[in-house]
Symmetry: C2
Subunit: 172 residues, 2 copies
C-alpha cells in the first residue's frame, strides 16, 4: 500500500474527491440497510478494496485480494460483490477498462461521467448533470426513453499535464 500515514487509505490524485473511507463505509452500511439489504463481509471488504485502490480495479484484481483475506477464490465471488455494489450506487463499472471503482460521492443519485487518464491510468468521477441533461435531450429528439448511460472520457489528467509541462522545461 505504501500510504502516507495522514491519509488513511487515499494515496493518489484520483481520490482527492473522496470522503474518508470510514465515513463512506458507514454511509454505505446504512444506505444498504435502508433498502432491506445487507453489507456482508465480502461486500464490505470489496468496497474497502476499491476505496484503497489507485484507479480502477479489474474483477480478478479484487478477487486476488479477497482470496488473500480468506474469502472464496473463484470469479463469481468477486463479480457478485462488485455487481451488488454497482447496483446499490456504491461503485461504478468502467466499461472501457473492464474495471470497477468506488463511487466518489455515494448517497445521492447521480449520473456519473468518468475521466480516464491515458498517462497515469487514474479514473476521476466528474459531476455530469449537464452532460446527462444534454444526452437526455438528444435521446428525446430521437424518441428514445433513456434509463441510464455510460459516459467515459479518455485524455490526460491535470497532474499528468503539469508533470509533462515540467519535464519539457527541464529538457529545454
Amino acid at each position: 500500500m505504501a500510504d502516507s500515514p495522514e491519509s488513511q487509505s487515499f494515496c493518489c490524485p484520483d481520490h482527492s474527491g473522496h470522503a474518508p473511507a470510514q465515513a463512506i463505509l458507514a454511509q454505505a452500511e446504512s444506505r444498504v440497510k435502508s433498502h432491506g439489504l445487507r453489507l456482508t463481509p465480502v461486500r464490505r471488504r470489496t468496497l474497502e478494496i476499491l476505496l484503497q485502490a489507485h484507479g480502477a480495479l479489474g474483477a480478478y484484481d479484487v478477487l486476488e485480494q479477497l482470496a488473500a483475506d480468506g474469502f472464496g477464490a473463484q470469479p463469481p465471488v468477486a463479480y457478485r460483490a462488485l455487481n451488488f455494489l454497482v447496483e446499490n450506487g456504491l461503485a461504478h463499472r468502467i466499461r472501457r477498462l473492464n474495471a470497477f471503482t468506488a463511487c466518489a460521492h455515494p448517497g445521492h443519485d447521480h449520473r456519473a461521467a468518468f475521466l480516464i487518464c491515458e498517462t497515469c491510468e487514474s479514473v476521476t468521477e466528474a459531476p455530469s448533470d449537464a452532460v446527462g441533461a444534454a444526452l437526455g435531450v438528444a435521446a428525446q429528439d430521437m424518441g428514445f426513453a433513456l434509463s441510464r448511460a455510460t459516459i467515459e472520457a479518455v485524455g490526460q489528467c491535470r497532474d499528468c499535464i503539469a508533470r509533462e509541462t515540467a519535464d519539457q522545461r527541464t529538457i529545454a
Copy 2:
C-alpha cells in the same frame, strides 16, 4: 435477412439514419485511400457485414460470416478488420455490448453517442455535439484534457415504446 426488396440491405429502425450501403462503401473507399490506406477485400466485406446487420455485431459474429465467405476463420482476422474500420471512422465500438456497428454518417468527424434499446437490442447513433460540448466543459473544469469519449445510453427506442403501448391497448 427477410428484407423488404426496396431497401437493399437495411431492414430495421436503427438503420433509418443510414445512407444506402453502396454510397457508404464508395465513400469509405475514397476516404481510406485519401489517407494512403487500402480498403482490402476483408475490410470491405467486414464493413458490408456491419452495414447489413441488425443492431451491433460481436467480433465473433463478424468472424463467422467472414469465414463463410472464404476469409480466415481465426479471431485476429475479424479484430484487425474491425479495428481498422474503427480507427478510420467507418465503424464504432459499442463497449457496453462488446460489439461493433457501422458508422451511420461517416466522412465528417463526429463525437458519437449511442442509444441502445434494451427491448430490441437496436443501436442508434445519435448526433451528440451538445453532449460532447457539455462533457468538454466538465472535463475542463477538472483540468482534464479530453481526447475522446464513449457515450452510450441504455433505454427503450421509439419503435419499442410504440409497440408496447399498442400491446397495452390490445390487452385492455
